[in-house]
């Protein structure tokens, strides 16, 4: 048989969705519930957090020969739920010399939401109009009011905990009760508070109380990154895709690597997609009246740029040439510390939820600073489960405190004294990480690499991304703040303070995994690819529901906004179909 013959499915779906992560899962859920016949194409395999085949939750480190250390396929550890990583065999990407981008992908039902941090913050009113407020960057074509009702709906459907704080640019949601802070978190709140830095309950998508009969309540194992078999945390697989399949309206095709969106040469409308079946390596096509892309920010741009035809010579819906540009990821910098006051702790189960119970929202007025955007601080620490790396670097710590008789001792060592030091310092470390808003720049972009295809023959992405002074100054501010907080706690910062020689510890672009912006929305078709409904200006039956349309990202992790905007676009699609506009 000719390998390059494309197998066409005669059936025409109402909607074809590419990608089953946060954005694609939400669209699949909403549209199947509304009765549409949906085909969901996912490049990775099937995954259900409650199927024993996939469960790593509550396993002990010794059940992994590498004790939970990371691997190429699981960069966040051997028990982590996500399959994929920074470097996927046969699916490479490149960066222009002198620039960098690290691209994290998950290849599975639910995408990266099976192990995401579940920090769930609404963007605030200001986050949609930073351009006009500060003269740098751009406004969204939409405003907080457009998303507010959808944030409410997402809060109710998916569930998150938090507290009403009344902070103007940190809008409150509909919250479940927050878990009580752990010991180091109480100390952090007190210490940071004493120097004017607020610490408030975190906002995260775990069910501290049950919200319906299909999902259990959190039982505090601290392992959301392994995906919750009780469905007590939000994963797109368990909370959106599997329920969508239960409607009977969903056709899920796993291992379907979408190559391009197909268009009608006469109307310029999309007619479906073509894909490579990863199992038999043959080419297939699927027809749909509407195509929704949700393959994640960069992958969606890649599909659009690869969807070239005489009508769309620069790539699909890319008459503006904007696709790929304005790629931006959160800034990130971190520091850890040893807290002598936390030595010799009483033992109890301090696992809690999988992540922090408190955090610091942005608290400073940027007009008083030399950089234009804010950041929030995430905290770590506690008497967590030992895994690979536990006790590493004890020689940098155990010379900092005297022995039990009050005598100074040398760092390092061995034997009975070393064992005692390990026990005494258990749970006495904290970590903190800033996550900040970058300025989206046209000069930061991904494009199709003219010289490279992946193992499926699909042209791959080449990145071009450099931080500007704005982000570097923000990282400097983070480092100064971290030391102030650590000192206020009586702690000892670990390692050397990052400085100008290493951009103040600023993470490489992409490393924080909050990339957005490659398929901008806007009111002007010359400067944007999509309108404010995330509908292509040039192709009215084509939509994008991941974070590619976002003009900027605030200092809020983006996923809750992906969920809200995908729901909003799904509602719009249903209205437009009813009105016979598409």
């Amino acid at each position: 048989m000719n390998l390059f013959e494309i197998k066409e499915q005669p059936k025409v779906y109402d909607v074809v969705i590419v990608g089953s992560g946060a954005g694609g899962g939400m669209a699949a859920y909403q549209l199947t519930k509304a009765g549409a016949k949906v085909c969901l194409l996912e490049a990775g395999g099937y995954f259900d957090p409650a199927d024993p085949k996939y469960i790593t939750q509550l396993k002990n480190p010794w059940e992994s020969p590498r004790r939970g250390a990371s691997t190429r396929t699981r960069p966040f550890g051997d028990f982590d739920a996500a399959w994929g990583g920074w470097d996927i065999e046969g699916e490479q990407y490149t960066a222009m010399p002198g620039t960098q981008f690290r691209w994290f992908r998950s290849r599975m039902l639910g995408g990266r939401t099976n192990h995401w941090g579940r920090i769930s913050m609404r963007f605030g009113p200001d986050d949609f109009r930073r351009g006009s407020m500060t003269g740098i960057g751009d406004d969204w074509p939409t405003s907080y009011e457009d998303y507010a009702p959808y944030y409410d709906k997402v809060d109710r459907l998916i569930g998150l905990f938090g507290t009403k704080e009344g902070i103007r640019n940190e809008p409150d949601g509909i919250f479940l009760p927050p878990p009580k802070p752990r010991l180091h978190e109480l100390m952090l709140k007190k210490a940071a508070g004493s120097i004017g830095i607020p610490v408030i309950p975190s906002r995260m998508a775990m069910l501290t109380k049950p919200i319906n009969d299909s999902r259990g309540a959190c039982f505090y194992c601290a392992q959301c990154g392994r995906a919750c078999q009780a469905y007590a945390d939000f994963s797109s697989s368990s909370v959106l895709c599997i329920p969508a399949a239960k409607t009977g309206n969903l056709t899920l095709i796993n291992n379907a690597m979408v190559r391009e969106v197909l268009t009608d040469p006469n109307t310029g409308l999309s007619t479906g997609v073509s894909y490579v079946n990863k199992l038999d390596l043959k080419e297939y096509s699927i027809k749909g009246k509407i195509v929704i892309l949700a393959a994640s920010t960069c992958e969606t741009a890649r599909i659009m740029l690869n969807s070239k035809s005489p009508r769309f010579a620069r790539g699909l819906a890319n008459d503006s040439g904007v696709i790929g540009k304005y790629l931006n990821d959160s800034t990130g910098a971190s520091r850890s510390a040893f807290i002598p006051a936390l030595m010799d702790r009483k033992r109890y189960n301090e696992d809690g939820v999988g992540g922090m119970h408190v955090f610091t929202p942005w608290w400073v007025d940027n007009s008083k600073l030399d950089f234009p955007r804010g950041y929030h601080i995430e905290y770590g620490g506690g008497m967590g489960m030992p895994g690979f790396g536990f006790g590493g670097g004890i020689e940098r710590v155990n010379g900092l405190f005297p022995d039990r008789n009050g005598n100074k001792k040398k760092a390092g060592g061995y034997g009975v004294a070393l064992k005692d030091d390990i026990r005494r310092t258990y749970g006495a470390y904290i970590g903190m990480a800033g996550r900040g808003e970058p300025i989206p720049l046209e000069s930061n972009y991904c494009e199709i690499d003219p010289n490279s295809v992946d193992k499926y023959g699909i042209p791959t992405l080449r990145y071009h991304y450099k931080w500007s002074e704005n982000e570097i100054k923000q990282a400097k501010h983070m480092q100064d703040t971290f030391e102030q907080i650590i000192h206020a706690m009586g702690g000892i910062p670990m390692g050397r303070k990052p400085d100008a020689s290493n951009n103040y510890g600023l993470a490489q672009p992409g490393e924080i995994i909050h990339e957005v912006g490659t398929v901008r929305m806007g009111n002007d078709p010359k400067k944007s690819a999509l309108n404010g409904w995330q509908q292509a200006h040039d192709v009215k039956n084509l939509f994008v529901v991941d974070a590619a349309p976002f003009v900027s990202q605030g200092d809020k992790n983006v996923t809750w906004t992906i969920l809200a905007s995908s729901w909003r676009t799904s509602d719009y699609i249903m209205e437009q179909v009813k009105a016979k506009n598409i």
Partner: protein
């Protein structure tokens, strides 16, 4: 499903957690020597771990020396057993194959150690007396106070110490030694009162609200 109720029950299924579907129980073919690695692997991971486990890197002699060092680092004492009792050498044997970046430093470090031991005591590290071993270890165990001629030995010792400590504390014996009490379903109600009192801390009233 209420946590309050579910915590009372003993079986995992009542927590809303999965139990083995019967189809899997019926379908599983009898495997005389099932390959064991981390649970819930995707096929390429199983292939990779099979290959790693079939490969050899460290020699029996190297592993024996690692065992001696590991038990100097983590000896048995009143509270728990030793590194070798917790299976640390087998862990290090695996990890240097899994993380090839360890191979040269560990192998080279062992050579440094044997070479040094032979110069000093006429025999390799495994062949000298426990007292002589400690004399060498004293020279390389304290990286901030090490004589320049021992810097390579000290770097090696820190690396073996880190691997040994990780290998020990990621076992049941290590958990018990440490007093780690988690990784089990529970209802987190905050830091115990006596601990709060000790640190002079208390919870904000917002945490008393149940809705």
């Amino acid at each position: 499903m209420k946590r309050r109720d579910t915590l009372k029950a003993l079986s995992l299924s009542s927590l809303g957690m999965a139990v083995l579907p019967t189809t899997d129980l019926v379908a599983a073919p009898p495997d005389p020597k099932p390959f064991k690695t981390t649970p819930a692997r995707i096929p390429e991971e199983i292939e990779r771990d099979k290959k790693i486990m079939a490969d050899k890197f460290l020699t029996p002699a190297e592993l024996a020396t690692i065992g001696i060092l590991a038990d100097i680092i983590i000896p048995a004492e009143g509270k728990s057993g030793s590194a070798t009792q917790a299976g640390v050498p087998a862990f290090i044997d695996f990890i240097v194959k899994d993380m090839p970046q360890y191979q040269t430093p560990i192998r080279g470090g062992l050579r440094w150690l044997d070479n040094h031991s032979t110069k000093r005591f006429g025999k390799s590290f495994a062949g000298i007396t426990p007292k002589q071993r400690i004399e060498i270890v004293e020279d390389i165990a304290y990286p901030d106070d090490v004589k320049p001629e021992f810097s390579h030995g000290a770097a090696f010792f820190s690396q073996i110490r880190n691997l040994t400590v990780t290998g020990f504390y990621t076992t049941r014996m290590g958990f018990d030694d440490l007093g780690y009490m988690g990784n089990t379903p529970n209802d987190w109600q905050g830091v115990p009162q006596d601990v709060l009192d000790k640190y002079g801390l208390k919870y904000d009233p917002i945490y008393d609200k149940k809705d």
